[in-house]
């Protein structure tokens, strides 16, 4: 797919230009996270990732708390998510992620519109905040009678030594509802990524496996790493339903705690965002025997491949046939849309710097329109997200990741039930089917492109100056700086006000969005008439 594109700017030059502006030590450090793709020989390429951000560099990264509370737990509607800390952390993560939710009825629980915080004051910092935390849980229980309360630790909590887990245990025993805490203090790890891991661990420990009811649906999967931004999960669900596949639990778009509790009854885990959720996938496999596969519902080709992969896993001709029928049907409007829009976008260029997966998966949608990706990178990924999972054994564990707990998981005594025998898995693999495989971003990066991990503001500026892309994709903090250059900017975290962009229907929305952004009139009016021809000024007055 990355075939004949040629990129004229030399990525080595771009890298040099970027590093020239840094103090020597910073340049050395950043150099490891900036990887030019200079030839088609990409096997040996490495990208330094999941390492500390240089202080002062103007990073776009957030914190562990944001990854845990905001990303993973934010979309679950029926848990009271209580931030234990000063007011800010809870305030900023209040309704700011565009994950949609659809409660089944008007009185079904939905706390996503609320912000709950212990609003710690200086006396809590000095004397400890456990008392206030307990009281806050009691008050939340008295007013809302929720089925579950979870506690999120912010930076000061760890430092003053509040034991949120002890408080959770005590209040759980007292109130008889599920209460658990996340040790997701913002300073842990080096980015949001640590928070994803902590959220995975905590949900796996305190929720997964609590409900053993097995639904009688025929093909049951979990969709992991899909957060329902702009309604993506809704249209994915619709598509899967059309194929006859049912989703037991989504981690965590449009989710409920009961779905998490029941997710171990699914027969396959389909992983969308590898970075944020691979931990749960691994743990579900070890403890319950559910295999996982990497899929992507971004872009029609990936969507088709992913559906086929799921169908192939279940090895059922009826499902395989339905999937083919659905793909054929859904591709008709997609192809028509590409035909309409491609002539207006062909040859244009894009860059994208987000997340731990989207900067990779979204590339396909640009290729569909005949566009090139000049540069890409993740904000909080690890090396395997660039180089592929085969690199995992070689990744050095540094001081920052050592602090993030790896759970020791054992097969469940009664419920471990391998969905496929070893022989069956082998047979599938021999046919080219891949379990637990993700090749990462690198294989899809064209010669001449540049990979930048944890991009800084200065690097963004340099890329824009040297590559002059036609469209730039990143997050809200970069948005308007990029647009000041007269370059349209698409948020790939929150989708601006758009979406859904997943599966076939979403791809059509995305093509239309790119068309609008590239071809909007506004970018032609940056100069006033008198700026275009200043030499005329004064003439008429003189006559």
């Amino acid at each position: 797919m990355t075939g004949e594109r040629t990129i004229t700017v030399n990525p080595e030059d771009v890298k040099k230009e970027i590093l020239a502006k840094y103090p020597p030590k910073v340049a050395r450090k950043r150099g490891k996270q900036i990887t030019p793709v200079s030839s088609d020989e990409k096997e040996s390429l490495q990208v330094g990732a999941n390492v500390r951000t240089v202080p002062g560099i103007i990073t776009q990264r957030g914190c562990c708390y944001a990854g845990c509370k905001g990303v993973i737990m934010g979309p679950t509607r029926d848990i009271i998510n209580l931030t234990h800390g000063p007011i800010g952390c809870g305030f900023y993560s209040w309704l700011t992620r565009r994950n949609q939710t659809r409660p089944p009825s008007d009185d079904a629980e939905n706390y996503m519109t609320y912000c709950f915080s212990t609003d710690m004051q200086d006396e809590d910092i000095v004397f400890g905040g456990e008392k206030k935390l307990k009281a806050a849980i009691q008050e939340a229980y008295d007013i809302f009678k929720p089925k579950a309360i979870s506690i999120f630790s912010t930076c000061p909590v760890g430092l003053i030594g509040d034991d949120v887990h002890a408080v959770a245990r005590e209040m759980k025993a007292k109130l008889g509802i599920n209460i658990f805490g996340f040790s997701c203090e913002g300073y842990k790890g080096v980015s949001q990524s640590a928070g994803h891991h902590i959220a995975n661990n905590t949900i796996f420990t305190h929720v997964v496996g609590l409900n053993d009811t097995i639904s009688d649906a025929k093909y049951k999967i979990n969709l992991l790493g899909e957060y329902n931004i702009g309604g993506d999960a809704f249209i994915i669900d619709d598509l899967l339903e059309k194929c006859g596949i049912s989703v037991v639990s989504t981690f965590s778009g449009n989710s409920t705690i009961d779905q998490f509790a029941n997710c171990h009854t699914a027969d396959l885990n389909a992983v969308m965002c590898h970075r944020s959720i691979n931990y749960v996938a691994d743990m579900l496999e070890i403890k319950y025997g559910i295999p996982w596969i990497k899929i992507s519902f971004l872009g029609p080709k990936s969507t088709a491949q992913s559906l086929r992969k799921i169908a192939a896993y279940f090895e059922d001709q009826e499902l395989i046939d339905t999937v083919e029928k659905v793909i054929a049907e859904e591709m008709v409007p997609v192809e028509a849309k590409i035909k309409e829009i491609k002539p207006r976008c062909e040859g244009k260029t894009a860059m994208m710097f987000v997340g731990g997966s989207r900067a990779h998966h979204y590339q396909e949608l640009f290729w569909d329109l005949g566009m090139k990706v000049l540069s890409a990178g993740y904000e909080f990924a690890h090396r395997d997200d660039y180089e592929g999972r085969q690199v995992i054994p070689d990744i050095k564990i540094d001081a920052d990741s050592r602090n993030i707990e790896e759970l020791e998981i054992e097969p469940d005594e009664t419920r471990y039930n391998p969905r496929k025998t070893e022989g069956q898995m082998k047979a599938l693999e021999e046919k080219g089917f891949q379990f637990k495989a993700y090749e990462g971003m690198i294989p899809d990066m064209a010669k001449g492109s540049l990979i930048v991990d944890d991009i800084s503001h200065h690097e963004t500026e340099t890329l824009i100056e040297m590559y002059k892309p036609d469209i730039f994709c990143a997050g809200i903090k970069e948005k308007y700086a990029v647009q000041k250059h007269g370059i349209p900017m698409k948020q790939l975290h929150s989708y601006d006000s758009g979406g859904p962009y997943a599966v076939f229907k979403g791809a059509i929305n995305f093509y239309e969005e790119i068309d609008r952004m590239l071809n909007a009139n506004i970018w032609h009016y940056l100069e006033a008439p008198w700026q275009k021809a200043p030499e005329l000024s004064g003439k008429y007055a003189a006559e």
Binding site: K21, Y22, V26, I58, P86, T96, I125, G186, Y187
Partner: protein
Amino acid sequence: MLLRHTPKEIKERKALAVNPAKTCQPIGAMYAGLGIHGCLPHSHGSQGCCAYHRSTLTRHYREPIMAATSSFTEGASVFGGQANLLQALLTIFTTYNPDMVAVHTTCLSETIGDDVNQIVKKAYKDGTIPEGKYVVHAATPSYVGSHVTGFSNMVKSIAVQMAEKTGKSNGRVNIVPGFVEPSDMAEIKRIAAMLGVNPILFPDTSGVVNGPLTGKFEMYPKGGTPISDLKSAGDSMASIGLGAWASAEPVKALDAQCKIPCQVQDLPIGLLATDRFVDALRTVAGVSVPDCVTQERGQLLDVISDMQPHLYGKKVALAGDPDQLIPLTEFLVTIGMKPVHIVTGTPGKAFTKRIKEITARFGDQINVQNPGDMFLLHQWIKNEPVDLLICNTYGKYMARDEDIPFVRHGFPILDRIGHAYFPTVGYKGGLHLLEKILGVLMDRKDRDASEETFELVE
């Protein structure tokens, strides 16, 4: 219903905040730093806070918000953040070349007790801060006060760390405009100019967070208080702080340090508060008020009197910051409305007293809570419905559930534009506020009118 779990019955809460009407100190400090020309705000803590503050300010203004962070990891949290701050200053001055860095702390660096003053001294001494460049710093622990406190702390630090007294008066008046929009800051300057006063306004985010689209990104946009003005602030004739919560401390500190007589006025929102501001400014500057100002006042008065039938007796619920709420409540009373429920998350005893005074004519019927939150406000509304809600963007959930006409005012406004360009201070700002209030009230009247009572004229 979007806030379906909010019960009408009010239970006292001592520990649980729900739907806060405030946020944390550093965001105010960051905003204040942006109001100095050539200044890069810096958040000394872990990087999440900085990311959150930048995102929120970016969404509020739809403009680039540049700020750096010390990116604490667990190690820094245990051993202190000195190395991080020194590294940050080196990176910043080498790569981004600002004229000034405004460092604020976060809960994290405050909890571990980093001595930022000493670290900055060291950075000056060892040349990490280049000649002719400045680093100002403020302590902004979020477990005290609110975003308004953080703004105030940073402005105070800027004042005392930058102002120089030469002993020769510059003939100017310092104005600290408070935590208001760039449009408001520009309007305050316009009013001063009409009076013939050339103020030193600091901070001044006009031209910084409401910049033009030119095809070029400016790391340090044209606007912002010039550093030379900050220095000169020590030689001004007088200081006026607008809004006690945001601006009293900075002007008092200048008084203490440079003996500049100061006074604190309400933010000039509405007729009477603008009257007081103009009167104060003309008095300290020793100028007379030109007709054009009196003309604007008269226009505001005129519209208020024209529109009385639509305003009189209408009940209003409000949430926001004390400095805004006090004159805003006064304005609503002036125009004949009845503010009945008022909360702020920003603590400060004087608030309830002032609101009670302003609403004295309504007796004991007014609900005021400080500190309070929007959950409580919503419960009050359920118990006593209102005709109008005025607060930040988050109010839209209450407005939709209870079907109340809604005017966005305050911080943050994440889903509308306008606040960066159209002021709500001054007489013109009063007109703009009136237009917004009447717009939603009259749209509602039209929406709810039966066909036979749906009318073209009045």
